[in-house]
């Protein structure tokens, strides 16, 4: 949802985990005005989790088992409804990945800004986590890439820059990351030493075969160009 777009909440479903009282009624009325469809559940009960786009929860009444996901990794934006504004409840809510707060008594004012804030924060956090996971993977794969470069330098008699360029161009051609290509290349190199089992695993895709062929061909090309240069 784009907070700048018109009708950003129309047809979205909000789950409210709150006992029926004046605050809950005020929240339901305001969410309906904003075009949301509202589902309500008891904050302490164990119930089937419905398909919703956003969740409001009573921070004083919810417990660790309330959310059906790993702590701190919410699948939908969470808005904590704060009764007792104590450091412990704030910290508890934050530890569960809350992306906005709504302070009691609930009035018509405040709900809209909490919705926009939570959706924006949730989207940012999700994008940030995805980027972080990708970077972590790439950091882990650095060692593999280093090994692949080394193999390519030795097998094809290339400098480190030439080997890197070879790997980069090939990854672009095959439309895979350099890390992924390095893994494939290493598997095939390994397979040539260690027999048929790894060979089959390594050449199970067309992409892997192309890598091997190209690496061999380019090795020849590089040798020739080196000779010409010398």
């Amino acid at each position: 949802m784009n907070c700048n777009a018109f009708s950003s909440f129309r047809g979205k479903t909000a789950l409210i985990l709150h006992d029926p009282d004046r605050d809950q009624r005020a929240l339901v009325a305001q969410l309906s005005r904003l075009g949301l469809i509202v589902e309500q559940r008891c904050p302490t009960g164990r119930h089937e989790w419905p398909q919703v786009d956003i969740c409001f929860f009573d921070a004083d009444r919810c417990r660790n088992h309330t959310f059906p996901w790993t702590k701190g990794e919410p699948r939908v934006p969470l808005i904590a409804i704060m009764g007792s504004e104590t450091p412990e409840r704030i910290q508890w809510s934050l530890s569960h990945g809350t992306s906005a707060f709504l302070v009691k008594p609930i009035r018509s004012t405040g709900t809209y800004v909490a919705l926009v804030t939570s959706i924006q924060n949730f989207a940012q956090r999700k994008a940030f986590l995805a980027d972080m996971r990708e970077l972590q993977e790439r950091v882990r794969a650095r060692r593999l890439m280093f090994k692949a470069l080394l193999k390519l330098m030795i097998n094809s008699n290339l400098t480190d820059d030439e080997a890197f360029e070879e790997l980069r161009l090939e990854s672009m051609r095959c439309q895979v990351s350099m890390e992924e290509l390095s893994l494939t290349y290493l598997r095939e190199e390994i397979s040539s030493y260690h027999g048929s089992a790894l060979n089959q695993a390594g050449t199970s895709t067309g992409r892997s075969s192309k890598v091997t062929l190209l690496a061999s061909r380019r090795a020849g090309n590089y040798s020739r160009s080196k000779n010409v240069a010398s």
Binding site: N4, A5, F6, S7, F9, R10, A26, A29, Q30, S32, R33, L34, G35, R107, S108, T109, Y112
Partner: protein, 375 residues
């Protein structure tokens, strides 16, 4: 606003069908935002008032709403506004954005083009109404070529007019208020007339705020040809409006000029009185509930308070100002439109292309000719 409210109070008090009289208690904050809070404190805490008709600017309304919510009193807000608000302690009698900004944007795009220049005073209403205008234009492939804000009361507008001349937009969306608005329109009209001798005049000015008393504050040569979007114009041709204008002039003088704000204040008091009579109480919750239960035949037409959001169902209209300080009505919606303060049900493409029965392919001139023929 005060005149409209006083007229309604006097009418209710003189009407035998009401078994109570209304007594006006007047406080004047003088347009100073911090004074609104003090005035409301006096009214609600010291003078025992529980229903207040008032506030014009959004800044003043937002200043007092928390106090009304704390005291559980009801503010009857008689001005059009930018939406994105819905307090249970306010009855919004003026137009919501879907009732005035949206029709204006649809009309401007179909009649003049999709390149708008926005100029306004530096506060909530211009910021938010311009945002809505910008998003409608952009959703329809148009653009805001520039967005400029002037401090309240500033009259130096030469740089704005120079920039408009350079950028050549299709229309001007004007959300300036008060003295800045008058200074801008007068300087703009003069500049446009000068250009008209050697080239094309400057583009048309459109707004949701320009009203009849403001036109009269302008020099006659600057009054004509501006577009205004409003649910009320003094020139509405209906028996109810003729009666209203007659009573208004009888009470405030033959030269008295009514406006959307005067009419909305008048309507606000009538709604309050009818709700009190229906609820048999002045208690807030009872009055609020009763407000949703009837439709009032107002000078502008049927008015009804929506039970979901406490805003009024009103009839959108577009007018073009004339040199004698009135508005020639160009467009009237088929009937009252449900208020949509958060623009939840609004589609910026669908609802601005088919905003009226007038086909989008008809040029402005053809359309005006059609209007002339029908008159």
């Amino acid at each position: 606003m005060l005149s409209g409210a006083l007229l309604a109070i006097e009418e209710i008090s003189a009407d035998a069908s009401f078994d109570f009289k209304l007594t006006p208690v007047i406080e004047n904050p003088g347009g100073s935002v911090p004074c609104y809070y003090a005035c409301c404190e006096t009214l609600l805490r010291k003078r025992g008032v529980s229903h207040v008709v008032g506030c014009y600017t959004s800044s003043s309304r937002k200043e007092v709403i928390p106090f009304f919510e704390r005291c559980d009193a009801l503010l009857w807000y008689p001005s059009h506004y930018e939406g994105f608000e819905c307090s249970d302690n306010v009855i919004y009698v003026g137009a919501s954005p879907n009732q005035h900004i949206v029709p204006l944007a649809g009309y401007l795009m179909s009649a003049f083009g999709r390149r708008g220049y926005c100029v306004g005073s530096n506060y909530i209403w211009p910021w938010e109404s311009t945002r809505i205008m910008r998003q409608i234009l952009e959703a329809n492939g148009g653009t805001v070529v520039a967005e400029r804000y002037l401090p309240l009361g500033v009259k130096d507008v030469k740089h704005i007019i120079d920039e408009i001349g350079d950028l050549e937009p299709d229309f001007i969306y004007n959300s300036l208020i008060g003295e800045s608005c008058y200074a801008f329109i007068e300087a703009y009209s003069a500049a446009s007339a000068r250009r008209g001798v050697s080239g094309l005049p400057l583009p048309i000015i459109a707004s949701c705020t320009l009203s009849e008393p403001e036109l009269l504050a302008l020099r006659p040569e600057a009054r004509g040809g501006h577009i205004s979007s409003s649910v009320y114009f003094q020139t509405i041709d209906s028996a109810e409006n003729h009666r209203f204008i007659h009573r208004y002039r009888k009470r405030f003088g033959s030269s008295a000029v009514a406006s959307a704000d005067a009419e909305a204040s008048y309507v606000a008091v009538l709604l309050l009185a009818h709700a009190i009579r229906r609820a048999r109480s002045t208690e807030i919750e009872a009055v609020r509930r009763a407000t949703h239960e009837f439709t009032l035949e107002a000078p502008q037409g049927a008015v009804h308070v929506d039970s979901e959001n406490n805003h009024c169902h009103l009839t959108p209209r577009l007018g073009r100002s004339t040199k004698n300080g009135d508005f020639e009505i160009l467009y009237t919606a088929d009937g009252p439109l449900r208020p949509d303060p958060y623009l939840v049900w609004f589609d910026p493409i669908r609802d601005t292309r088919n905003w009226s029965s007038i086909g989008q392919d008809q040029s402005y001139c053809q359309w005006i000719e059609t209007q002339e023929m029908h008159r």
